[in-house]
Amino acid sequence: MTNTHVMIIVVAAIFTNNILLSNFLGMCSFLACSKQLDTAVGLGSAVTFVMTATTILNYAIYHWLLVPLKSEHLAFIVFIAVIAAFVQFVEMFVERFSPKLYHALGIFLPLITVNCAILGASLFMVNRSYTFIQSAGFGLGAGLGWALAIVLIAGLRQKMVYSNVPRPFAGVAITMVVTGIMAMAFMGFAGMVSIQ
């Protein structure tokens, strides 16, 4: 993994290995916050920001603190704590500078803490033994990929309001079906670049 170029990792994390569409991580807020395009853009950018920053922070803590002290088994609890603290910080920041976005995101801003895609990105980074630069690129790419997916589905859902969805499928069910189709469409990117 050490010789993959960072740009390839960014592109791959967005398209071929989209954290949402290929790993199906972070589905909760994906389904709940994708009714409105502007909320989706807001949440997507918040997740991108948090994911990039926490991947970098977690890389530093993992490789420069936990590995030298031979305490890699603490990775889960440490990663979660770092993510939680960082989300608190983002929450204060967003409330100060964009109260409208703060209230639009509502409970989902603090819920980014337990968004599994964020923890997933940090764990993938360890599993795939990325370098520092690669980790930063992966965090950014995975975040952008997640944001792309939620923005796309929000756009589709806004149009879907006007379509005649069979009643048993209305709401979350049709969204999951559409997500599945979208994941298949993204498989068209497979083979372009690949990270594992």
Binding site: L69, L74, K100
Partner: protein
């Protein structure tokens, strides 16, 4: 050693994270002192930034009505914020009409003071006072409704329009909350305030009020409310209540007959069974003195009544429909559960009442 290192790592890490957050909070959540300008500099308040407009005004003894205690779930604390309120928040939009949004009406409990704010507050709300009082008497009028009378101490008298309400301060585990109750005593008894309180299991306000004993101190703000009794004597007054929606009606009716002994007035009151009937004797007595006063009580579940009943039965809007002739100059006051209000409003509209002559309290 294998145990100590993880503990030290975690403790150190959490301390650092906590420290960073505390520092961030100091810089990000600090707005300094801001001013709140009311009605074009009629009053200018200096307040601590970061709190909500509702609590800032409350501290300066301006009591905006609010039933939920600032949680944004009652929609009562509407005031006009001309500048400094920021964008309308998604938590407010369910309570604001499009017209209100255009004329910059906001919920005071959702507007956080981040900069200098200019507001417009109706003169009437600036006159709302905080009363300290004590319980003068309590009486069970039905199995779950209590009549509670407060003697006012400071200020010693209240000036109210019939149908207005007060907000009782009730203690709760999360600090004091306010609950709205209509005043049931007429305007001429200005040294006291009487309420009809139905006990709601688990309800903060009613549990508190039902637990009060004679002599206990209470605090409330008021009077609030849009009910505005027509001063024209030839306008007939229609009062329709259901469940425990009696207090404003009692106030209106006794106030009317103090001022206009011959004015025409109807009271329709819907209950489930005879166990829920109250004040009927008082009204029959009043009707004997004032022949233009008509009382109709109707039971919706007469078969479950503990006592015999030979009055009307059925839902109350049917009685309203039966007794009122169409197209007369009227004013109507409704108080009760939302389905009742809707049904009665439909009937009254058919009888030729305009929307602006129908006042209601939903609960």
């Amino acid at each position: 050693m294998t145990l100590i290192i993880p503990v030290i790592i975690l403790a150190a890490l959490f301390t650092v994270l906590g420290g960073v957050l505390v520092i961030a909070e100091r810089f990000l959540v600090n707005y300094g002192e801001c001013t709140v300008d009311i009605n074009e500099s009629e009053r200018v308040l200096k307040v601590e930034g970061g709190q909500t407009l509702l609590s800032a005004l409350y501290e300066s003894k301006i009591f905006i009505p609010s039933a939920c205690g600032g949680k944004g779930s009652c929609g009562h604390c509407k005031i006009t914020v001309l500048s400094g309120g920021g964008p309308v928040l998604p938590t407010e939009t369910p309570y604001l009409t499009r017209q209100e949004v255009r004329s910059s009406v906001r919920l005071a409990c959702q507007v956080k003071i981040r900069e200098d704010v200019k507001t417009k507050i109706p003169e009437e709300l600036l006159n709302v006072k905080l009363f300290s009082a004590s319980v003068k008497s309590t009486r069970d009028v039905t199995h779950d409704i209590k009549e509670i009378r407060f003697a006012l101490h400071d200020p010693a008298t209240i000036t109210q329009r019939p149908g207005q309400y007060v907000q009782i301060e009730a203690p709760s585990p999360e600090g004091p909350v306010f609950r709205a109750y209509s005043i049931s005593s007429p305007f001429y008894e200005d040294d006291s305030v009487e309420l009809n309180v139905r006990f709601v299991p688990g309800g903060i306000g009613s549990t508190y009020l039902h637990g009060l004993n004679v002599g206990d101190p209470v605090r409330f703000t008021g009077p609030y409310g849009e009910f505005r009794l027509s001063e024209e004597e030839d306008a007939e007054i229609i009062c329709v209540g259901g469940g425990c929606g009696m207090a404003p009606m009692k106030n209106i009716i006794f106030s009317i007959y103090e001022r206009w002994p011959d004015r025409s007035c109807w009271l329709f009151f819907g209950c489930r069974t005879t166990a829920d009937v109250f004040y009927l004797d008082e009204y029959n007595e009043l009707a004997r003195k004032h022949p233009n006063f008509h009382v109709v009580y109707a039971l919706s579940n007469p078969q479950d009544s503990p006592d015999p009943w030979n009055g009307e039965t059925g839902f109350i809007h049917l009685s309203v429909d039966k007794h009122l002739e169409p197209d007369r100059k009227r004013q109507a006051f409704l108080c009760g559960p939302p389905p009742m209000i809707e049904a009665v409003t439909d009937v009254l509209t058919q009888k030729g009442l305009a929307d602006e002559d129908i006042f209601y309290d939903k609960f």
